[in-house]
Every structure is written in structure tokens, then in C-alpha cells.
């Protein structure tokens, strides 16, 4: 059996609201989960079950209250996200884990094509050849996701929700990484673009990535899922 690219053991998440009299909001409890190369795990369950929360815990956007989250960083190495330093986490996000959130965080004044190309220029920010190659690759992604060329030089702030979503997807998937976390990537997309995103996911799985995803559309789920995870299993009973 292939080694797990992602392994969650006893992961729990409770929010403590210190300014609401210390109210505790338990969301997840006892999460045990593994994802291997070539697998696409679809998280299922009604809203409020902590699907997005789980993705954010893996990405270290949220901090786990208990348990271990191990991500494979090399043939012999793993990193426990819950114990990692900021520096290790930044490196993890650079090299190992891609995260397509529900919302595109907008940075003013940066043209869409550069938003998409950024991950490919990370180590060589001033190298013009790298920049050109990165933009060419970004252009291919934008074309594939049907973003009109006249928009490429514009900052995405004025784009429609669906266009922003596609920029978000391109930006976070352009650099192929072993682990993909996708939170409703097709929520605002038309059927054609939805199909394209499904293809992108299938291609990632085919190249050996592991995918953890949330999809509202049952057809999409059917098209991509290799495993379905029932999130109600991890509902906190506290």
C-alpha cells in the first residue's frame, strides 16, 4: 500500500470565544483520515459539520485543538502540521499543499495574469526568463478556464464571482503539488467551466496527487470522488 500523503489522527477542533464568556464551540472530534496518492476524498455532510474547517486545519489556517495532522514532505519525511513552526508551514504551503479556498483574497493592483503566475516565480522573482515562462503558463490556465484575454492585465477586483473563482483555482493549482485542498471550487461556475475544473482534478489525481475536496454539486462529486467521507462521523458530541 502506498504511504499516506496525508494522515489525520484524533484531530479535534473547538473554538473558544474568550469574549463571549469563554463559550466553547466544538466542531470536530476524533477525526481519523488518510489520503494517498491518486485518491480524491470528498467530504460530505450538511453545512456546519466542519468540512471547511477540516481543510483549514490541514492548511494550518486553523489550529487543531487536539490530534496530529501529518503531511508527507518527502519519501522519508513527514511534517506534523499541529506542531510545525511558522517557517516549516510556509515551506509546506510553498512546496506540498495547495489550497483553493471559497474566496479569492484580493490584492489590489496586481493584474490577473500575475496573480495566477505568482507561485511559479517564487524562487526567482527577478529572473525575466522565469517570469516570461510563468506568465505563459498562466496564460494557458486562463485560456483553459475561459477568462477573456482582455481581462488578463486587469486586477481581479472588478471581476464577477465566477471569474474570481476561476482565478483562484488557476492561482492555486498552477504549481503542481502533492496535496490539494479544494473548498467548493465550482460553486459559482457554469457547466462548461465546471467540467474544466473536474478535468483539472482528474488530471491532478492521475499525476499522483491526493485531493481533499468539498463539492456541493453531486455530479461533480460523482465525477471525481475515489472516496467519500461522511463528516457526521466527526461531529462533536460535546
Amino acid at each position: 500500500m502506498k504511504p499516506a500523503l496525508l494522515s489525520l489522527n484524533g484531530v479535534a477542533k473547538r473554538f473558544t470565544l474568550h469574549h463571549q464568556h469563554g463559550t466553547e464551540l466544538p466542531v470536530l472530534e476524533g477525526v481519523d483520515l488518510q489520503a494517498r496518492a491518486g485518491e480524491c476524498l470528498v467530504l460530505e455532510g450538511p453545512s456546519g459539520m466542519g468540512k471547511s474547517t477540516l481543510l483549514k486545519l490541514v492548511y494550518a489556517n486553523y489550529r487543531a485543538s487536539a490530534g496530529r495532522i501529518e503531511v508527507r514532505t518527502g519519501s522519508d519525511s513527514t511534517l506534523d502540521v499541529t506542531q510545525a513552526s511558522a517557517r516549516e508551514l510556509l515551506q509546506l504551503r510553498r512546496d506540498t499543499v495547495s489550497y483553493v479556498s471559497q474566496f479569492l483574497r484580493l490584492i489590489p493592483r496586481v493584474p490577473a495574469i500575475d496573480v495566477v503566475a505568482e507561485a511559479l516565480r517564487q524562487d526567482h522573482a527577478t529572473d525575466p526568463d522565469v517570469a516570461a515562462a510563468a506568465r505563459a503558463e498562466a496564460a494557458r490556465w486562463l485560456q483553459r478556464l475561459r477568462i477573456p484575454e482582455r481581462l488578463w492585465a486587469l486586477p481581479p477586483a472588478t471581476f464577477s464571482g465566477g471569474e474570481q473563482q476561476r482565478i483562484n483555482i488557476a492561482r492555486n493549482l498552477i504549481k503542481p503539488r502533492p496535496l490539494l485542498l479544494l473548498d467548493e471550487p465550482t460553486a459559482s461556475l457554469d457547466p462548461a467551466n465546471t467540467r474544466t475544473v473536474v478535468e483539472l482534478i482528474q488530471e491532478a489525481v492521475a499525476r499522483g496527487a491526493a485531493v481533499l475536496g468539498i463539492f456541493h454539486d453531486p455530479e461533480v462529486r460523482a465525477a471525481v470522488a475515489t472516496h467519500r467521507i461522511d463528516m457526521t462521523r466527526f461531529r462533536s458530541t460535546a
Binding site: 474568550h18 486553523y62 489550529r63 511558522a86 510556509l90 496586481v110 522573482a125 527577478t126
Partner: protein, 263 residues
């Protein structure tokens, strides 16, 4: 150039830094490390100690206890406060930058923009007027100041332009570490956006390590991958910026984050 984060040694190591003013504890046991290419935001409200932290780390004031170590270009780790005044000043002029909140504090207001940018180079021994001017023009262009303003003094510049000039003046000597104290405060929102974009690009392109003090969480979100939150002289929480802002653990961090009005 190898990826910055693979560098095994930190560029800056701050350990247990403390500073008191009489009975008032301005800073207590502050510690952090910084690697090349990392931007660290220090956030907190007035009186939190963030400016004291910045100033003690940048050797502008002496701590009462604790240690600030900086990795010199030859790879050795130097105790910044044990260096001679001459070496500290040299460091401050070459390998470090300090962007002041008020640009007038970091510029020569009555000397031309070109001379402001060229001064560090002249201090490093550049003696060719033509080359100095060319370097100044290059940097003015990089901070989006019109080339034909090169002979104007910053006294006639707007606040945003002055701040961009201050950045150019600091970066011309290719420093590896940049300190910034509320660099966008007092600027109009659109001007702020432009400046932040510039800072974002430059820190990324130049792989600068940056310590930026700000009370504005949006600035921290935009510029910094890492953040520390200060309250009453202490660092109460630290970690990835997005984690602290999206899932704050410490009561004070939660208070700060929830207090920000969404636009």
C-alpha cells in the same frame, strides 16, 4: 538563487528582549527568529511595546536584558548591541534599512531626491557622479517616482511620494533586513494601497527579511506571512498571519481581530 526558506540559519535572532522605563515595563521577554525573505508583522495597540521592540532590535535603543543577533554577510552571528557604534552605524547604512513612520525622519528634506537615494552609495565609496545618478534614476523608477523629479527636494513631494523615496533611499544599498514602523499611517487609502503593493513586490523580488510594526491588521494580512501580537509589552501570540487572523487563540488577539470594522 536557492530558495530562501531552505537557508538553515536565521538572519535575525531576538531572545528574551526586555526594556523598562522606570516602573513601566515597555517590553518583556520578547523572542523571535527571522529568515531571509520572511515578513514579520508586529501588531498591537498603542502602548503595546511594538515600537520599543522594533527600536531595540534595530539598535536604536539598548535593551535592559536579552540579546539581538544578526547574521553578517560572512555567515557569522553578531550580537548587535555588542558591536561598536561605528559598526552599528555601518550596518544601519548598508545591510539594514529603517523606514520611519514619518518620512521626514528618514530623509534629508532639503536635498534632492537623487542625492537622497545616492547618499548610501556615496557613503560606501561611490565617487562617480554619472553612476550615482544612474543608480538613483533606476531606484526612482522602481518606486514609481517620475524620473524628472530626481532633482527636486522631498520637501515638495506628497506624503506618499516621500514615503516611496524613503524606501528607495533604504533599499539602494541592497540591505538584507528592513525595519518598518507604520509605513502607511497617515496616508490616503489609495496612496496606502499603492505603497503596500510596492512593498509587497519589492520584499518579494529582493527576498528581504522585514519586521513591520503596524496597528492595521489589513496591512499585516497583505504584507506579512508571520505575525506576533503584543499586549502590554509581551508577545501574547505568534504564528502565521492568516492563522492568527482567522483562528485567533489568545483572548487579546481575538479582541483585536473582532474589533476591526469590515469596510
Amino acid at each position: 538563487m536557492p530558495p530562501a526558506t531552505s537557508s538553515p540559519q536565521p538572519l535575525l535572532r531576538v531572545q528574551q528582549l526586555s526594556k523598562r522605563y522606570g516602573a513601566l515595563t515597555a517590553l518583556q521577554d520578547a523572542s523571535f527568529e527571522l529568515w531571509p525573505g520572511e515578513v514579520l508583522a508586529v501588531v498591537g495597540e498603542s502602548g503595546s511595546g511594538k515600537s520599543t521592540l522594533l527600536n531595540t532590535v534595530a539598535a536604536q535603543m539598548r535593551p535592559d536584558s536579552g540579546c539581538v543577533e544578526f547574521r553578517l554577510r560572512d555567515g557569522s552571528l553578531a550580537d548587535v548591541h555588542a558591536l561598536s557604534a561605528a559598526r552599528q552605524r555601518l550596518l544601519a547604512r548598508t545591510d539594514w534599512g529603517f523606514v520611519h513612520q514619518n518620512p521626514a525622519d528618514g530623509l534629508r528634506m532639503d536635498v534632492s531626491a537623487g542625492a537622497n537615494v545616492g547618499e548610501r552609495l556615496m557613503g560606501l565609496g561611490w565617487r562617480h557622479y554619472g553612476q550615482l545618478r544612474a543608480a538613483a534614476l533606476d531606484w526612482l523608477q522602481r518606486v514609481e517616482i517620475d524620473a524628472d523629479r530626481i532633482d527636486d527636494a522631498p520637501r515638495v513631494f506628497s506624503g506618499g511620494m516621500r514615503q516611496r523615496l524613503q524606501i528607495a533611499r533604504n533599499l539602494v544599498s541592497s540591505p538584507r533586513l528592513l525595519f518598518m514602523d507604520e509605513p502607511t499611517s497617515g496616508l490616503d487609502v489609495s496612496v496606502q494601497a499603492r505603497l503596500l503593493d510596492l512593498l509587497r513586490r519589492l520584499t518579494h523580488e529582493l527576498q528581504l527579511a522585514v519586521v513591520i510594526v503596524t496597528h492595521d491588521l489589513a496591512v499585516a494580512r497583505l504584507l506579512a506571512q508571520r505575525m506576533v501580537v503584543m499586549q502590554r509589552g509581551r508577545i501574547v501570540e505568534s504564528g502565521l498571519t492568516d492563522q492568527l487572523l482567522d483562528d485567533p487563540q489568545h483572548p487579546y488577539t481575538q479582541l483585536l481581530v473582532s474589533s476591526v470594522l469590515p469596510p
